[in-house]
């Protein structure tokens, strides 16, 4: 009796789908990194090799950006290698009060006043962490609520305990 579903066919289709989905994710990450590069250029931010950039979208996931801001407050005295671009905010005053003047004055916080991040097509609701190596932004970490390792990886990279 011919089976309605051919097991070999299903297995083959599944494998093909898995391969193409991996390629798709890699392609998506590559496209996102390119958008990051374009928007950083527009913002006129210069980062050295081994620096890290965190993009915080304040019109996205509130628990996520709150965590990112908290991280900024906790770590700003420990490193000069971590830079923040903050976008999607409604009030600069609120942001300044929330982060504290010291954090603001340190010079590693960049405000995306003209919305270049969004214009570049970066519409993430979650903080994006990208690492600059060999002159390029390599690798992306999306610090959503499920990615519990994003901040520990970042701290390890920056040698912050």
């Amino acid at each position: 009796m011919r089976k309605f579903i051919d097991l070999k066919t299903v297995s083959l289709v599944t494998i093909i789908l898995m391969i193409t989905s991996c390629e798709t994710a890699e392609k998506r990450n590559g496209e996102l990194l390119e958008k990051v590069r374009v928007s950083i250029e527009k913002l006129d931010i210069s980062l050295a090799d081994n620096d890290v950039l965190m993009i915080i979208n304040m019109s996205g996931c509130s628990a996520c950006y709150s965590r990112a801001l908290k991280y900024a407050k906790e770590t700003y005295t420990h490193t000069n290698r971590l830079h923040f671009v903050i976008t999607g905010y409604n009030s600069k005053k609120s942001l300044r009060l929330r982060l504290g003047q010291d954090v603001f004055n340190k010079g590693q916080i960049y405000l995306d006043e003209k919305g270049y991040i969004y214009q570049s097509g970066i519409k993430q609701d979650y903080p994006l962490i990208t690492y600059k190596e060999n002159g390029e932004f390599q690798s992306l970490d999306i610090a959503d609520l499920k990615n519990s390792l994003a901040y520990s990886r970042l701290s390890e990279y920056l040698s912050i305990k």
Binding site: S91, K93, S94, L97, Q119
Partner: protein, 383 residues
């Protein structure tokens, strides 16, 4: 044989998809959308608040209070967790009430309802905390009963979904993101601490997955009629519920005749395409908060036109995000009597409140963040 069966199935599915109304769509009856335009809104006045160095120009909870001819605006200040009281006559701060986050009166609230200066309701996750004017906790009541639900909702309280008190009960919205098949309001009996749930999403919400911006409900309270009036983001109608009959819901057309049927972004949570939910929300009309003006005995409801596809694709931070807005005006019997367009990019509509002068809309002012200005729109008959 298999090919013939597959062809038949595909043909039936194709025919069914053509020209059939989806039962999960949000539609309205054309004849209900006709109305006699009797009232318009005109801007006539403004309030200015002068902020101190630690008060921000954005707030998620406002309450207008009139007492002995004094007009006060109570204002939640997130950055230092305080209730700021402004005298609306001169715009100055008259009192700042900090809410402690630690210690014996620790309170994690970000909202309030002021009954009197010494009787204030706040919610701190699963508790309703009743405090005095020094933020000391006087009583605590539960705000959730996990036993009733598959997904326990939390209090969802902010400026356009306020808490209110009447006859020994406190009422508020409860919410779980993306869940539309359970109650969405609750009341706490302050004598017995009993918690009761009521109100459901409209039928069409329960038949699809209304996300991307459609999931929200705002409401207002008419104290004289003892009635809650709800505005769902995808609903052309307002829904009214009388407090003495919580099981009965009446609906009242409060939409726009040119809006057309609104379609859900997806039919279920598991259906792929979540990344397009927000686009489907933005490219369709929707509705926002409703306010009852007890002084003029009218209701105001925000209605949003869709963003165009070119605007959405432009990635312009304003045009691709902010929908054009109009205000629907209804009389005390919830009959539509007017419709006024307002400037698309001028106001921060989440900070709207009603005063005895009219509907107060907060002006966006990026240049000076030490003042907050409200333009007051007054309803007036069309001659």
């Amino acid at each position: 044989m298999f090919k013939k069966s597959l062809f038949t199935i595909v043909l039936i599915a194709f025919l069914q998809s053509c020209g059939t109304k989806n039962i999960a769509d949000s539609a309205f009856k054309k004849d209900e959308s006709d109305f006699d335009e009797k009232i318009t809104l005109s801007r006539d006045y403004s309030y200015t608040l002068y902020l101190d160095s630690t008060t921000t120009p954005e707030s998620t909870n406002l309450q207008y209070i009139v007492s002995d001819d004094n007009e006060t605006l109570a204002y939640w200040n997130k950055v230092d967790a305080s209730i700021v009281y402004f005298n609306l006559k001169d715009g100055r701060i008259v009192k700042k009430q900090p809410i402690p986050r630690t210690g014996p009166n620790a309170n994690g609230t970000s909202n309030f309802f002021i009954l009197t200066p010494d009787s204030i309701f706040t919610t701190d996750y699963s508790n309703l905390k009743f405090i005095n004017g020094q933020s000391e906790i006087l009583a605590v009541f539960p705000t959730s009963n996990p036993g009733e639900f598959k997904h326990t909702p939390d209090p969802y309280i902010w400026n356009c979904s306020p808490m209110f008190h009447t006859q020994g009960h406190v009422y508020f919205q409860v919410y779980v993101g993306g869940v539309f098949d359970q109650n969405n309001m609750a009341k706490v009996n302050l004598t017995t601490s009993e918690l009761e749930y009521f109100s459901e999403y409209p039928d069409f919400y329960q038949k699809a997955y209304w996300r991307g911006g459609f999931e929200f409900m705002d409401f207002t309270f008419n104290e004289k009629e003892r009635m809650v009036i709800q505005s769902y983001s995808a609903d052309h109608y307002l829904r009214s519920i009388k407090l003495d009959n919580l099981g009965k819901v009446n609906k009242h057309f409060a939409g726009v005749s040119t809006f057309g049927t609104i379609k859900p972004p997806r039919m279920s949570m598991t259906e792929p395409g979540h990344e397009k939910d927000e686009k489907k929300f933005k490219l369709q009309p929707s509705f926002g908060p409703v306010f009852y003006d007890q002084y003029n005995e009218v209701y105001y409801r925000f209605a949003y036109d869709p963003i165009t596809e070119p605007e959405f694709e432009s990635n312009d931070p304003k045009r691709s995000k902010v929908k054009p807005v109009r205000i629907i005006i209804l009389d005390k019997s919830l009959t539509k009597v007017g419709e006024t367009r307002i400037d698309r990019f001028k106001y921060e509509l989440n900070m709207t409140f009603v005063s005895k002068k009219g509907l107060c809309l907060k002006r966006i002012n990026e240049a000076n963040e030490d003042i907050v200005q409200f333009d007051v729109f007054i309803p007036s008959p069309i001659r």
